[in-house]
């Protein structure tokens, strides 16, 4: 069980905000932090890792106190059993891929895990290369592997899949699922991608105005119970064009682009990039087999 009760005043680009996080999380689960940029998602991860000190509060991980402002306990990052995957990967340029992983070994730890991770995350061909020669996706795989070497109890992934193309994203999602299954760390990740969140995580916490909302089920979070539809998808608005008296809205559903017609009143509050639900009532889908 991970218990977080944190408060921290942050100075972001939009002035200062007070970040408040009260959160309990089952051991071994995967949670996504979701919200606009600058609301304190990365700061929450950094406070968990010990890279930022909360103003007050408590962090208890598996009955071990990592931080307690009242009892003046603040474990250093070295003593917290966390893995952190940084947004810029933070691979050590002076070491090869394999050396990066070996560097992460705890004193006396069995070397075996390095070769095991190289195999699971398919780094065999990259292991003797230096990070500067790798592509973004390859760097992220190495960073993921390295964060797992010392077998952390909590794995923190700061936008692990941003800046990757679709195919790479899906591949990395699979790797994350694979390592979660094998090592069972509790994972907290930051993501903006609805499909990814639903695929990977069991819980989602929205952060809004500095407030971390309680965990919810991702598929419930992105749909709402107020609409009863037979067919219901979450989508992202790509494009809105006016054609005569109606509007044609282009939407990204999963990995497919589709268009729907909307009235002026429908699109009043919508803009490009919004996450929306499209639902259809009272129609019967037909199933065809495609050769």
């Amino acid at each position: 069980m991970i218990e977080l009760a944190l408060q921290k005043d942050l100075n972001s680009g939009n002035g200062s905000i007070r970040l408040q996080a009260n959160l309990n999380l089952e051991k071994g689960s995967i949670l996504t932090l979701y919200g606009a940029s600058g609301v304190g998602k990365t700061s929450t991860l950094r406070m968990l890792a010990g890279l930022m000190t909360p103003d007050r509060g408590k962090i208890v991980v598996h009955d071990e106190v990592w931080f307690d402002s009242e009892r003046k306990i603040n474990k250093s990052p070295q003593k917290r059993k966390v893995g952190f995957m940084f947004q810029d990967y933070a691979l050590f340029p002076n070491m090869t891929v394999k050396q990066n992983l070996e560097f992460a070994l705890k004193p006396g730890q069995d070397q075996k895990i390095v070769s095991e991770l190289i195999e699971i995350i398919a780094l065999e061909e990259l292991q003797n290369l230096k990070p500067t020669t790798l592509s973004g996706g390859q760097k992220q795989r190495v960073a993921l592997a390295r964060s797992l070497v010392n077998q952390p109890e909590v794995l923190l992934l700061d936008e692990p899949l941003s800046a990757l193309d679709l195919a790479m994203r899906q591949k990395l999602q699979t790797y994350i699922q694979r390592v979660h299954k094998k090592y069972k760390p509790t994972i907290i990740l930051i993501s903006h991608d609805v499909g990814e969140i639903i695929k990977l995580s069991q819980f989602i916490c929205k952060i809004e105005n500095g407030q971390v909302h309680p965990p919810e089920d991702p598929s419930q979070f992105f749909t709402t119970n107020t609409i009863s539809g037979k067919f219901q998808f979450t989508a992202e608005i790509l494009h809105i064009v006016k054609e005569d008296i109606v509007y044609v809205v282009s939407l990204l559903v999963g990995h497919t682009v589709t268009k729907i017609v909307a009235q002026a009143s429908d699109i009043e509050n919508l803009s490009i990039g919004d996450k929306v639900i499209i639902a259809a009532k009272a129609f019967n889908p037909i199933i065809y087999k495609i050769k």
Binding site: P77, V82, F84, N94
Partner: protein
């Protein structure tokens, strides 16, 4: 026959100074690069002072401070038996102060140029500050270290004012090459002055060519 002792003394002084400076400048540069202390500007100013102060001013104050007629100088003389003025250790001390910015500044900007997440990543992986410095930070600022080392060495070879003030002009003891050149010109021995000058000219040229070549990656291209 050319008296080689000023040249040998110059290179001995430059080697000792550079070695001590590396050990001294790394902690200072590390502190300057990562501190959030309000003392940082004061420290930065002190480190940079030798860049703008006339060397004679530094030499003059060192001379005053360490002369046995003065409190500090008397104490050193009495208790430690060290007399810094007109001696080689005095030259080394003067050169360290004089060349300090040339070592600290490249290393400091090397540290600052590294992504802060490298250090944080090493900490999260459970590594101590020392391991992080020696295995992650320093190996990734090798060009900055090399620049600092060569600049301090070359700068020490080229100093004149500080060594003249604190060291005087004692042959074989404190008479370095730059002073020897001045001496020979005073004595109208232009050809000897020219020999010393040419040697210094060639050495500094080669040294600087080496760092620009290595840091620019030209040698790798030639070797390949």
């Amino acid at each position: 026959m050319l008296d080689w002792s000023p040249l040998l003394l110059t290179f001995k002084l430059a080697c000792v100074t550079t070695l001590i400076l590396v050990l001294l400048a790394i902690p200072i540069a590390y502190w300057l690069a990562y501190t959030k202390s309000s003392l940082k500007p004061v420290m930065e100013t002190l480190v940079s002072m030798p860049l703008v102060l006339p060397p004679t001013v530094i030499g003059f104050y060192l001379l005053l401070a360490f002369s046995p007629g003065n409190a500090v100088g008397a104490w050193l003389d009495q208790w430690l038996g060290i007399r810094l003025i007109f001696s080689f250790p005095g030259l080394v001390l003067g050169s360290i102060i004089y060349s300090l910015p040339f070592m600290v500044q490249p290393i400091q900007s090397g540290f600052s140029g590294l992504s802060p997440s490298l250090k944080e990543a090493a900490y999260v992986l459970g590594k101590t500050r020392w391991t992080t410095i020696f295995r992650v930070l320093l190996p990734n600022i090798k060009p900055a270290l090399l620049t600092g080392i060569v600049l301090s060495f070359a700068h020490t070879v080229g100093e004149f004012g500080v060594v003249l003030m604190i060291g005087g002009n004692i042959p074989g003891k404190t008479k370095v090459a730059s002073i020897a050149v001045y001496d020979e010109v005073e004595a109208l021995n232009y050809s000897t002055a020219n020999t010393y000058s040419l040697i210094l000219f060639a050495c500094t040229f080669i040294l600087l060519l080496l760092i620009y070549g290595i840091n620019g990656g030209y040698f790798k291209k030639i070797i390949r």
